[in-house]
Amino acid sequence: MSRMMIAPANGSIGSTPSKDMVFDSNLDYMLILSERTDISDGSGVLEITHGLGYIPSFYHFESADGLTWYRPTYSGTGGAYADTNKIYINTYDPNIHVRTIIWANSQDNSDGGTKNNAFGNLLIAKDGYDVLEETDLRRFKFASSAGILKIKEKRTITVSGTGDGTFTNTYYHGLGYVPQVYVFVGGIQIPTFYSQGGGMALSYSFEVDSYKITCTVFTSLGEPTTSVDFNIQIMLDKIA
């Protein structure tokens, strides 16, 4: 089986671990099928038709002004979900900008075979599939018709404070556009909200615009000090 590898500028094929390679055809990827921005109408649920016939993986960001973006938390039931025809995003307010990344990968990671959406001048099929015969992106490791998220950098931003309150820290990414960012605290994907009752709560959140990423901790737990490390992966791929 042939293998295509691209080493980073400071690495080399054979010595650089797979996870640090630019690309390795032995691995699988999340293939971006489409990226779109929609505006909520205030009806409660924003419906995005994908028409794939299977439940795709997806990820979304929201913005009130189209400039500063965040990941929403939901206090009620539901949230954001997909079925075989649409993606449904609970957005009760009107004029909320919703950026949705729809991957060709189905949520169950099945190989499919019925779609005709793999094309381009560079195609790499998954093992066991003929690159000249297959047309369904789910059977490909790579197709130049689909994007792959590219990592600009990883960074830890520490948010600190004394007593109860809202504390922030900002990192200037310098891209000039709003990048996709994936943010974790420990192994938990941000945002989070913990309510401990009695008015005691703790939340972690973030916002990103074309210049900076701002991480926020709100605490009313009565702790003397707060120090939280936000682990941020900044992509070169755009939200806006």
Partner: protein, 237 residues
Amino acid sequence: MAKFKVLKNGFTDIDSTDISDFSIHSDYKCQKLALADSVTVVMDAFSGSASGVINHNLGYIPSFFCFVEYGGKGYETVGNANPILKLKAARFFDINASDNYIYSWDANGDQVDHNLVYGDTIKFKLNPSNTSLPSPLNESTTYYYKSDFSSTKFYISATLGGSTIDLRNGVGPESNYWAKTNNFEDLYDFYVDAVFDIYADDTKLNIQVTVSDLDGRVNFSQESFIVRAFFIMDEII
């Protein structure tokens, strides 16, 4: 140094300085998948909780994308309490020890038909204000529906078709014990919220589902969820 670039569909400038124009650019790492896997978690009818893990064994805490499949829908997960899914819950039971029967009531406190049939099982649970069940009942034993006292009240036995258990020598006031049965039936169109907590450590993804249990009185359907995760081949730190 030679560069390897593949433009996204619709872009034509191979010299573009906007890296988001490219599917691959050899100056930047692509986000690679380490593995994709799933686990089915099933609600416990009596405890109102479910848990599971998906092992990745990467040795570091990876970035991940995670989804919860339920009812033909695939929910995006966020943070520590999403998604929140509505589950049907039904059946409240109390023990009337002095009159030797169990009775069924709804979420509004009204007695309703129990709808149990021969072969159905039932387990009992103390409420927080009691220290023991009426003799000879205990929390660890599964009992059986025996026969009707009325449409809302019934007797129980220790074995299928066995003799009626006599509760009248038991202690405790009536209406202060709770019970749950295998006979889940959506009698009351009554729902509770199931809340998902999902987080990764350096070997696995941990999933915990909890529901509001109304102090242990609610009987849950044994709903199952499929939690699916894509683990990225890159530590989050």
